[in-house]
């Protein structure tokens, strides 16, 4: 099921949104302001080439506010390249990427986006508080607001006690949580996460899942790539599967036939096999 | 793998081939190098000590001229005349090409070539040189001593450095005790130096009447040293010191006869 057409966000229409330019309803019927009436992410026929290599070839998908989308695929499928285009680090060679109706490279659009990379060794000489204060400054946020958000975020990601330790003493999982905190600092409407579950212990994964669900309840959109099929199946509303730069499957997770477990894994393997 | 093998082969060739090539080029007597002198500096620097010593003497000379680099100095017309007048005293390199815009020295054709304005030279000549030419004298001459001390520490056989230091101490600072200490230390490291022996006599002579006898004795010992070393074998500076010592002896005899 792919859903773009006629200049309207088909996905948003399909989940019951009324895009009359004045009001928009999210997937649970909650009202949203006109500024969030656009798709959170709209990718239309995007191609991205690096020399003679097509990392992404003809990708189209859309993500609505209040939706969590899982982006799956093998290594080198084009997931990270797609993510970089969504956050404005790369321009497509062809096609169009828009975030909340605007150009992703526009700072005003990026102010509504939070991003966490796959692996990041954050500044070793800073502690978690200073890291968030730094990113808060980069986002142009007021110092008082940053401080309040810092306290709140460190608590929610479980880093309050380690907040004053230098980041070079952090474990991989702790760095990952610090990364989540910085991605959420500016209260983004769109959260883009690259392999967010890497390095997290089971308890942290549960908390993180709850965090993402709470963001969805608030009408935020979440787009993440992952190799963790179990987590993806538990969290996502829809998934897209990439292979060799092509999107070989898009659909709602609830449409997968239920038999008690590993539906997504079976679908993943089957889709990749059929796409050979 | 192939790159590593090639690199190893090249390194092995260099290790084996270069020393034998050097032996052919430099002659057997140049290899291996023999360290002259004792101590860590001799081992670490070898013959480079001489170069270092000379460079430090030049630095002292630069200090004498108020910090100006003596290979390249700026002067107004008046200063140019001053240097032309005192050229013999200071051994300025007036006949050599100078990179400064207003330098008095230099061949005519080079000055013509520099007719085009060089903004970088304009800036350098104004930032890196004083507006007036200065010489250190009197007690301020003590600023030269550390550089001369460093020069003889680097190369204890640099007789010019010893004599310059003694000159600065005795003639400029008017501290003959210091000058004698310097000369004594120099002679301890260079017992076969006629110049240093002569210089000791000169310092004693400069002290005046009370030291004339001891000065004469030193001049005589300098001439005896020169004779014992063989006058024909002496370098020019040493022979000059031998001759000057003779003149001083004559002068002292003349004065004492009065």
């Amino acid at each position: 099921m792919q859903g773009i057409g006629n200049g309207k966000c088909q996905i948003c229409y399909n989940i019951g949104a009324m895009n009359d330019g004045n009001t928009l309803l999210g997937p649970k019927g909650q009202r949203q302001s006109p500024s969030t009436g656009d798709c959170a992410v709209r990718i239309e026929g995007v191609v991205r080439e690096f020399g003679s290599v097509k990392a992404v070839d003809g990708l189209s998908l859309a993500l609505a506010p209040g939706e969590i989308m899982g982006f799956l695929g093998t290594n080198g499928a084009g997931k990270t390249t797609t993510i970089k285009m969504i956050i404005g680090l790369l321009r497509p060679s062809a096609g169009k990427v828009s975030v909340f109706g605007g150009d992703p490279s526009d700072p005003a659009v990026r102010a509504r986006v939070g991003y966490m990379p796959e692996v990041a060794t954050y500044y070793p000489y800073l502690n978690a508080r200073e890291l968030l204060a730094f990113y808060g400054g980069i986002c142009g946020l007021d110092a008082k607001l940053v401080k309040a958000r810092t306290d709140e975020l460190l608590e929610s990601v479980g880093l309050s006690e380690a907040a004053r330790r230098p980041l070079k003493t952090y474990s991989k999982g702790m760095l990952q949580r610090a990364g989540i905190a910085q991605a959420l600092l500016n209260d983004p409407d769109l959260l883009v996460l690259d392999e967010p579950f890497t390095g997290l212990d089971p308890l942290a994964r549960i908390h993180f899942r709850e965090l993402l669900r709470s963001l969805r309840e608030k009408g935020k959109a979440v787009f993440f790539s992952s190799h963790e099929l179990g987590e993806t199946e538990l969290l996502c509303d829809r998934v897209a599967i990439m292979k060799h730069g092509h999107c070989v499957y898009q659909g709602a997770v609830k449409d997968l036939a239920g038999d008690g477990g590993s539906n997504l894994e079976r679908l993943f393997l089957k889709t990749l096999e059929e796409a050979k | 793998m192939r790159h590593w093998a090639l690199a190893f082969a090249a390194a092995a060739f260099a290790v084996l081939a270069i020393p034998s090539a050097m032996r052919r080029l430099c002659g057997d007597d140049a290899m291996p190098q023999v360290v002259r002198g004792e101590g860590a500096l001799a081992v670490a620097f070898g013959d480079a000590r001489e170069v270092l010593g000379r460079a430090l003497v030049q630095k002292a000379d630069s200090y004498f001229h108020g910090g100006i680099d003596m290979d390249c100095h700026v002067s107004h017309e008046a200063e140019r005349e001053h240097h032309d007048e005192h050229n013999d005293e200071h051994e300025h390199h007036h006949d050599e090409w100078c990179g400064c815009e207003e330098c008095a020295g230099g061949h005519e054709e080079q000055q013509e070539e520099r007719a085009a304005f060089d903004p970088w030279a304009w800036i350098n000549s104004r930032v890196r040189a004083p507006q007036e030419h200065m010489h250190l004298d009197g007690k301020k001459s003590v600023e030269l001593i550390p550089w001369l001390w460093a020069s003889v520490a680097a190369d204890p056989h640099n007789i010019e450095a010893w004599t310059t230091a003694a000159y600065v101490a005795g003639d400029m600072m008017k501290d003959t005790d210091l000058a004698l200490r310097i000369v004594a230390e120099g002679q301890a490291k260079n017992p076969k130096s006629v110049r240093l022996r002569f210089y000791e006599g000169r310092v004693r002579y400069a002290r005046g009447k009370g030291d004339l006898a001891s000065a004469r004795a030193v001049f005589v010992s300098a001439r005896d040293l020169a004779v014992s070393l063989g006058l024909d074998a002496l370098p020019e500076e040493e022979r000059t010191a031998y001759e000057f010592a003779g003149r001083f002896i004559e002068e002292i005899d003349r004065r004492t006869e009065k």
Partner: protein, 259 residues
């Protein structure tokens, strides 16, 4: 405007914290003390009263250490961000590449200048303790040295975007130190070469950053007095223009850098 100010402030604070927490400065100060204390206790030929050689040695150390800090600060601006992959969350924030580059540069500048100020406080304090004094040349010397450090950071920043860290440090050091000691002699060397090499040397003379313009050490040590204000202004303008060109090239390099 407020956003830009907050962004620059955050970037400056980052560089500042990193420099002072790395303890490089303190290591250099200890090294300086290890070199200067024995030197000041030396009594050449037993003669006391010489102090200019100490001032010159101290100033040479200040220049060497500040250059080390500046080149290191410039190198650590962006290259480590790419290596640690922190460039991605950074550029994903609402900040343009140009503003990021300039903010980073300001940060390295603030850090390097703070280190330089610290070194000069130690230097001036040591001179005053020995009974020395400074005149009008000190503020000028400080200003030119600060300008040189700004230039050195810009050189290192551009180099960090074009080559590896070790190559950048080596090349930047060779260029700046080489020009510092030999820059003004290049036309002289060129005269003795064949036409092709002479042209190359003259091109280097014309284009390379003339670090020697900023060197007022001899003025400070020997009390030559202040430089004429037109020359002083000319050197500062030279620094500003050169830095602008370097930052422009760095901005181009960053734009073309594959993320």
């Amino acid at each position: 405007m407020k956003t830009a100010f907050r962004q620059f402030k955050a970037l400056v604070k980052l560089s500042f914290l990193e420099l002072w927490r790395r303890n490089d400065i303190f290591a250099l100060v200890l090294l300086g003390l290890a070199l200067m204390v024995p030197l000041s206790m030396a009594s050449p030929f037993g003669a006391d009263g010489a102090s200019r050689y100490l001032d010159e040695a101290a100033l040479l150390l200040v220049w060497g250490f500040s250059l080390f800090i500046a080149l290191g600060s410039g190198q650590r601006l962006l290259a480590p961000e790419f290596e640690a992959r922190t460039i991605y969350p950074l550029l994903a924030k609402p900040i343009s590449r140009g503003r990021l580059l300039f903010g980073k540069y300001l940060g390295a500048l603030a850090a390097s200048w703070s280190a330089l100020a610290f070194f000069y406080v130690l230097f001036v304090g040591s001179v005053l303790l020995r009974g020395g004094a400074f005149a009008a040349e000190l503020p000028q010397a400080l200003a030119l040295h600060f300008a040189f450090i700004a230039l050195a950071v810009a050189v290192s920043l551009l180099g960090s975007l074009l080559m590896s860290a070790s190559a950048n440090c080596a090349l930047s050091s060779i260029v700046l130190v080489g020009m510092f000691f030999f820059g003004r002699r290049l036309p002289e060397y060129a005269d003795g070469l064949n036409p092709a090499l002479a042209w190359l040397v003259k091109a280097v003379y014309a284009i390379a950053p003339h670090a020697e313009f900023f060197d007022m050490r001899q003025r400070l040590v020997h009390g030559w007095g202040a430089v004429g204000w037109p020359v002083f202004a000319a050197v500062l303008c030279y620094a500003l223009v050169y830095i602008a060109v370097l930052l422009g090239l760095a901005s181009l390099a960053l734009r073309r850098r594959r993320l």
